[in-house]
Amino acid sequence: MTAPASPAAPASPPPPPSTVRLTIEGIPVEVPPGTSILEAAKQAGVLVPHYCYHPGLPVAGVCRMCLVDVEKFPKLAPACATAVADGQVVHVHNEKAKKAREGVLEFLLINHPLDCPICDQAGECELQDYTFQEGRADSRYREPKRFNPVEDFGGDVLYVPNRCILCTRCVRFMSDVAQDPVLNVSERGDRAFIGKAEGHDLTHAWAGNVVDLCPVGALLSKDFLNKARAWELDRSASVCTGCSQGCNVVLETRDNVVVRVKPRSNTAVNQYYACETGRLHYRWMNRRDRLEVPLVRGEAGVLVPAAWEQAIAAAARTLAAAPRLVVLASAGLSNEALYLLSRIRGPGGEGVFRVETGPEAPLAGAPDLALRADRAPNGRGAELMGFARHDQPLAALQAGDTLLVADHDLAGLDLAALDRAGEIVVIGTTLPGELVSRVAVALPTCNVAEEEGTFTNLRGRVQRFLQAKAAPGEARPTWSVLGDVAEAMGRGRAPMLPADVFAALAGDHPAFGGLTYAGLGLRGLPVLDAAPAGGTS
């Protein structure tokens, strides 16, 4: 009864020689041959309820939830594993299909505990949603439910076997996508559970995805456990800052605190996945030791809070008076901020940055997807803006140079070189302790979760990220602060919106030619391939 296995349906279907026409719920659709009914229904805007099917995984057809009524078929067909045929008429929501789904739901709920109030998945649980939509109001099962204790799967994953509906998405992810087959289905019948290979843990760099793939609350993130309810979270589209891959993510905040990072699907970059490092790379966004007001060195030689206008004027004066300007820019800044920094730097100055590195961790089953060695989101963007990458960027500092530190981390740098600097200006989210006694002006900026902008990933794809939370104190978006400083130095007009900066950037840099801020959408576009690294005006 299993139809021709069509793995990973939307993964680059070649231009079809012909198309298949069928009708789903009265809506005519035209799809390439070999498409599953479920994917065709998606195209028609009809959601076929399903658990085991996932577009990124091979089809298993085990949950029986996607049963649909196809005219002239002797019995109901699983929509995920049945290929479309010309002239088919499919009913998703007729009595026969609904009754089948109601039965499937009743079976799934036989051993499912009624612990939605304490389950982290509540609110984003597909079992909860479908039961509410079309399940029975009560259970006819009177016998005691099966009970298995909670198991720690290692890594960030906790397994609650009682809630498991055995869709095997996690098993298929680990064996086919991560290609580290540590999970299996152990035992049979109602005793079945997800087992873990003896002596192995879910420590694979991408293992955290099983938590997202799990349609119920059986696989939970230990990091997010009991932290927030799904309906309390505010979500905004962003780009992961953990490495230069630029995975599309959603930042989820509660009460202005980022509590979770989840992948956002983008078949051109990260498919449906995010790695463990990226998932846990959010705590720094909530740090409390932020620079919150503009500081200017007063007459007594002590930093005193100043109004924004005075602080920007002071910064512009210091930078304009520089005999030679060295800009130490973080590779975590947006393209917009780096572009404005290159304007402030001018042709005579020097721009440098350093990127933290770590071991690379590829995801075997996905093309060109890995946790990259460069652990910063915008190293490519910085290079395109004419910043040079160094292991010891402060070595570029010559005696008497003015140093502009733009949100760059000082950890691991040769700080003895700072003694050569004449004046130091800081524009960033924090004021490093080493600089407190030396800095002339410090301007507070927003971090990546508090402003919007774009990053260029290592393949040259420009992707937008949106604001997720409010900035502390008087901090302003980096592009706004840098734009004001550049204007005060007489280097162009201050932008009103990040889109203005992007338009100016696209005009100045041939690599970005033809791109518009709005045109990038939320999935990004690649820069021109002929981009010479470091082409500034």
Binding site: C116, P117, I118
Partner: protein
């Protein structure tokens, strides 16, 4: 009348307050001699409180004295007055429990939704209304205060017995 206000003669007999004053006083004097008394000598005597009265909150506890609450977050979600503050935590056995559970009785509108939504039958509105205090901050009830209350709790409306009989 520089701006030309029109003065209308009013019929004095119909607008006189004398008649209604007298009829009002008649009611007063009739109650003076009426045997049916409605006045209750309040602190000593009390009216019975209705079984579905929604008053001061109370958190019920398990046999070992812990609050029944599992910090599911439904009551702060359903609360129309936003008066419940809840921070979930995890105890040594890995059970979910409320680290912080506070109800601002000033802000509460006593709709009773929190009791209705609670899946654990933990939080209740009570058949109790005498919650005067000498300082304002005492009106934010924390978990210890909510669990130490002993008054009766509100009975929920039973659809099978709509009149409560």
């Amino acid at each position: 009348m520089a701006i030309g206000v029109k003065v209308v003669e009013r019929p004095t007999g119909e607008v006189s307050y004398l008649r209604s004053t007298l009829s009002g006083l008649a009611t007063t004097f009739r109650h003076l001699v009426d045997p049916h008394k409605v006045t209750v000598q309040y602190p000593e005597q009390r009216w019975p409180i209705a079984p579905r009265w929604r008053g001061t909150h109370r958190m019920l506890t398990t046999e070992d004295g812990k609050a029944k609450c599992v910090a599911c977050g439904l009551c702060p979600t359903v609360c129309p007055a936003n008066c419940i503050k809840l921070v979930p935590g995890e105890d040594e056995q890995g059970n979910r429990y409320p680290l912080v559970f506070e109800i601002d009785e000033f802000r509460c509108i006593f709709c009773g939704y929190c009791q209705e939504v609670c899946p654990e039958e933990a939080i209740h509105v009570g058949r109790h209304f005498e919650n005067a205090e000498l300082s304002r901050d005492r009106f934010v009830y924390d978990l210890a205060r909510l669990t130490s209350q002993t008054h009766d709790v509100c009975e929920l409306w039973d659809p099978a017995d709509p009149k409560g009989e």
